[in-house]
């Protein structure tokens, strides 16, 4: 099968072109090593079944500096991979010179290629018109223009791809380097014939060669670099300097300068949106609006879903005879899965609004405005985007850290993300607050009287966010101390967000979330049902029996650790079950208490909470849990890393067990300590 790789700078319009060429019928494939999703699709048109198009992550050059770039560049060099048959290089015409840096390197690869100019309208507004013919002559490969969003130039491009109208420039560009660099490159070529000049020139610029280079090649490059340094030439800048001299010449010959129109709309918006004072006001207003939408407006459809689920519970109860299966259906399926579905409106709203902000170009402005604060705690301006999406779910948040070039800042961001209050915590918080914080509780500050329950919810959110920054600051001052890293941010032009596409993508993601949570809750509910009712009762009183079940034995095992937090073995089982996912806790407690047989209330969250309140200590007969238990549990859930998906994605993204294990363990300790402190304080105040 013929494979065509789409290659270009980030934001050059690659994905738009990819969608136009493949008609969105793409599949996302995970590539081995670091997981970076590479989309591939089949070229549109029935007679072209044999042409596969792959959309590589954006790169600025063939020198990798981030995991995304590493994957794309390895593929192009054919390292552990079959290189593509053809390259389509997407070039942003409004940013020609910088884009040509990559283009001139790609030309040297010797793979037949084609340059596609995008954003020619934006270039025209900046007073730049590109002579395609001339550019093609200069580069030695064909050049075509398209306007993918409007479809202009697409038929020409498609027929070019079908007829394989690509070109190879046979003259080696590297000949234009200064004599010292040229001789270093040809020397290395002489020693190792299977390493190409372009691979040498793109590796010489690195402080250390990429890990995927074979030993001998890496050594040759290191000695070449040392030789250049001894000649007082810094390859890291000198090679690029030389290349840009050539690019300047190409650009001077193929760009026709016309009069630029007045300041662009984006620049005018930025004068306000990035204003030293006004910018922060706009930012706060937008973020407030997002949270307002999640916690107020999204509640309306959430209520509808809740009543639907309650109705279903009543329906099953009235139409089925009492049995273990009925209990399982109501507590496990309706209660457990339903409890997750209730959060669908919130997740969808957050994903959709984030999509709008990202697509409009505003999120990059947020990164610009916040960088200084993020930098102080060892994070990156770009960390703000993954952290924001972690309010929905840590998994997409951790994956979104891939855009952070600096490995250290990316790691710190990934490390603190599980502390951000995600939507999976909300069902647990809601249940525990309703159960343990009295509805009448008030906190009086002067003349203002605040609702205790609302304050508790806000407190949980604030402490999660504050803790994530505190941990980031601590890490970057101790364990992950390093020199400050790159901050390079491009502010894309504002544009009208593509609402339909964002809607579709949010639905896809929310669907995955529900699917994952639903299946896991169901499986765990059933497993717990079994474990807490086996081995079968044999001449023991129910009280003795409970502890001899499989679940009871495990719960008893962890009980000593939980005693200081005011928790017993039953909560222990719930906490163990919620290691899989936090939201499982409610259904798990339901399964342990066999909720349905003892309670009339149909809403599982409240039923479980009420059941927890009613739980009696078998020896003293007093309530088993107090308000201290409640707040300890809340604090525990705020900080503990109870999420298998997060663990799995951390392992995948960091390529090892070290970080996910360290993360889970340190947050477990943090959660326990926090729970103990909070409980001690609350008990002292309540005494």
């Amino acid at each position: 099968m013929t494979r065509i790789a789409l290659v270009g700078n980030p934001n050059a319009g690659k994905t738009t072109l990819f969608n136009a060429l493949t008609g969105l019928r793409h599949k996302v494939g995970n590539y081995p090593g670091v997981t970076v999703e590479i989309k591939s699709g089949v070229l549109r048109g029935a007679d072209n079944i044999g042409i596969e198009i792959i959309d590589l992550p954006g790169v600025y050059s063939l020198t990798p500096q981030s995991p995304d770039e590493d994957v794309a560049i390895k593929l192009l060099f054919g390292i552990n991979e079959v290189p593509p048959n053809f390259i389509v290089n997407v070039v942003d015409a409004s940013n020609l010179e910088r884009n040509l840096f990559l283009t001139t390197q790609l030309v040297e690869l010797g793979i037949p290629m084609l340059v596609v100019l995008t954003m020619t309208d934006a270039a025209a507004r900046r007073g730049l018109r590109i002579d395609e013919k001339r550019l093609s002559t200069e580069l030695g490969v064909p050049v075509v223009s398209t306007d993918a969003p409007k479809g202009a130039g697409l038929p020409t491009l498609v027929s070019r791809l079908q007829s394989q109208g690509f070109g190879i420039n046979v003259s080696p560009v590297y000949a234009g380097y200064s004599p010292e660099i040229t001789s270093t490159i040809s020397e290395i070529c002489g020693f190792s014939p299977d390493i190409s000049p372009v691979l040498i020139s793109t590796q010489l610029v690195r402080e250390a060669p990429s890990k995927w280079l074979t030993g001998i090649d890496a050594e040759l490059i290191e000695s070449g670099r040392a030789k250049l340094c001894s000649l007082d030439i810094d390859p890291s800048t000198a090679i690029a300097d030389d290349r840009y001299i050539g690019i300047g010449r190409i650009s001077a010959r193929s760009v026709i300068r016309t009069t630029a129109s007045a300041t662009s709309l984006s620049e005018r918006i930025d004068q306000f949106a990035l204003h030293k004072v006004g910018g922060y006001i706009v930012f706060l207003a937008i973020i407030t609006l997002v949270f307002q939408a999640i916690f107020t407006w999204a509640q309306i459809p959430a209520e509808w879903i809740k009543s639907g689920i309650d109705f279903l519970g009543v329906f099953i109860r009235s139409s089925m005879p009492a049995s273990e299966l009925r209990d399982l259906l109501i507590a496990g399926v309706v209660g457990g899965v339903g409890n997750t579905v209730v959060f669908l409106p919130q997740i969808l709203t957050l994903l959709f609004l984030l999509g709008l902000l990202e697509d409009s170009g505003y999120l990059a402005r947020g990164a610009f405005l916040l960088d200084r604060f993020m930098y102080r705690v060892g994070l990156h301006g770009k960390s703000f985007i993954p952290m924001l999406s972690s309010f929905a779910c840590a998994v997409p948040g951790i994956m979104a850290t891939r855009t952070i070039e600096s490995g250290r800042e990316r790691l710190v961001t990934m490390f603190v993300i599980p502390l951000i209050p995600c939507t999976a915590r909300i069902p647990v918080y809601t249940m525990l607050i309703a159960a343990f914080i009295p509805a009448t509780s008030k906190v009086n500050i002067g003349i203002v009287s605040l609702d205790g329950r609302a304050l508790c919810m806000v407190g949980l959110f604030v402490s999660g966010i504050a803790m994530s920054f505190a941990v980031a600051a601590l890490l970057s001052r101790t364990a992950m101390k390093a020199a400050p890293s790159t901050f390079m941010l491009e502010l894309p032009a504002y544009k009208i967000p593509r609402v339909g596409r964002i809607m579709r993508e949010s639905l896809d993601q929310a669907g995955l979330f529900i699917q994952r949570a639903g299946t896991m809750i169901l499986a765990i509910s059933i497993a717990l049902w079994f474990l807490s009712s086996h081995p079968k009762l044999q001449g023991k009183s129910p009280k003795e029996y409970e502890r001899t079940t499989y679940a009871g034995r495990v719960g008893t095992l962890v009980e000593p650790v939980l005693k200081p937090l005011g928790m017993d073995w039953k909560i222990g089982i719930g906490l163990l079950a919620s290691v899989a996912a936090r939201e499982v806790f409610v259904a798990a407690m339901g399964a342990i208490y066999n909720v349905d047989s003892s309670e009339d209330d149909n809403h599982i969250g409240i039923a479980v909470g009420a059941r927890m309140r009613a739980e009696k200590d078998p020896i003293t007969g007093k309530p088993a849990y107090d308000i201290g238990t409640g707040v300890a549990l809340l604090a525990f859930f705020a900080f503990a890393q109870q999420c298998m998906s997060t663990f799995a994605v951390m392992r995948r993204e960091t390529n090892g067990w070290k970080w996910p294990l360290l993360q889970s363990f340190s947050y477990l300790v943090l959660a326990w300590v926090a729970a103990f402190i909070v409980r001690t304080i609350v008990m002292a105040v309540n005494a």
Partner: protein
């Protein structure tokens, strides 16, 4: 045969007089890159901060935050730390 990069050789030219770093330029002023240093010089050079390139400070943000720079018909934001590794010669408009 079109050689994209000719034998143009700048190495022997004397370095122009460089009096300041990019972060010292005032908002709206221009400079010409003399040298790029620091751990990120490789990426900066690739992005177009090459010797002799004209750059303009387009926006300085509050609290000592990022600096937006205009160069080669595009804009990029850098931290003060990065900008201070780029020495420039101020250019009169």
């Amino acid at each position: 045969m079109h050689n994209v990069v000719s034998d143009f050789n700048k190495v022997d030219q004397p370095a122009p007089h460089c009096e300041c770093t990019l972060d010292c330029l005032a908002n709206g002023t221009k400079g010409e890159v003399c040298s790029v240093t620091g751990p990120n010089r490789c990426r900066l050079a690739e992005l177009g901060f090459s010797r002799g390139c004209e750059v303009e400070v387009a926006r300085k943000s509050a609290f000592g935050g990022p600096i937006e720079v205009r160069l080669r018909s595009y804009r990029v934001s850098l931290r003060v730390e990065e900008a201070s590794g780029i020495t420039v010669r101020a250019v009169e408009d």
